[in-house]
Symmetry: C2
Subunit: 113 residues, 2 copies
């Protein structure tokens, strides 16, 4: 699973962590329902997760679009915006779990967070 | 759900995010299995998550012990240590989901991450 966090929103570390956790839980739930076999294998081999960064909303949406085209689970997280960011801000994206090679087709070029 | 991350390990932001995501997914899975009613209510009301900090392994273990005593889901995350921290380092703790008041009895005094 890749968790892609926007770095252009000036979120605190705690905010990024909480938003990323939303993405991870949501992508895991979605994957469990729609890609059960992949999900089980992922869980049973340590549930690998990598945190990556995107620099804009456009970049995040483009990654989600690419994952969607490939049939890979993708979950965009929108923040209620009570604290650090404007209401409705899309803060991060969960991709997968899926085969590492397939997740790499979406997020392979992104820098580590 | 509270995710408590150790700040004494000098982890990068990306490492903290990935470790916290392990805790969130693991606590969610555990809670779904053992506290199904709480878990459903939590999920259906936005799956609230807060990221907090602990300054030592001892503090993290003490929080886990307190949660355990109260019958609140608690999951310690141990890192394989291939990268930034020594193998077997306990990096963070997921607490809950449970009633906010009960989670507060464990983590209410901790600073936001």
């Amino acid at each position: 699973m890749a968790i892609v966090v926007r770095t252009d929103l000036d979120m605190s570390v705690g905010k990024m962590v909480a938003q990323a956790c939303h993405a991870a839980v949501a992508a895991s739930e979605e994957s469990k329902r729609t890609h059960t076999k992949h999900w089980r294998r992922w869980r049973d081999t340590g549930g690998r997760k990598v945190a990556l960064e995107a620099e804009s909303l456009e970049e995040l949406m483009e990654l989600a679009r690419r994952a969607e085209e490939l049939g890979i689970v993708n979950v965009l997280i929108e923040d209620a915006g009570h604290t650090e960011v404007p209401p409705g801000s899309v803060t991060c994206l969960g991709v997968g779990p899926d085969q590492a090679m397939r997740v790499d087709m979406v997020t392979g070029d992104l820098p580590l967070l």
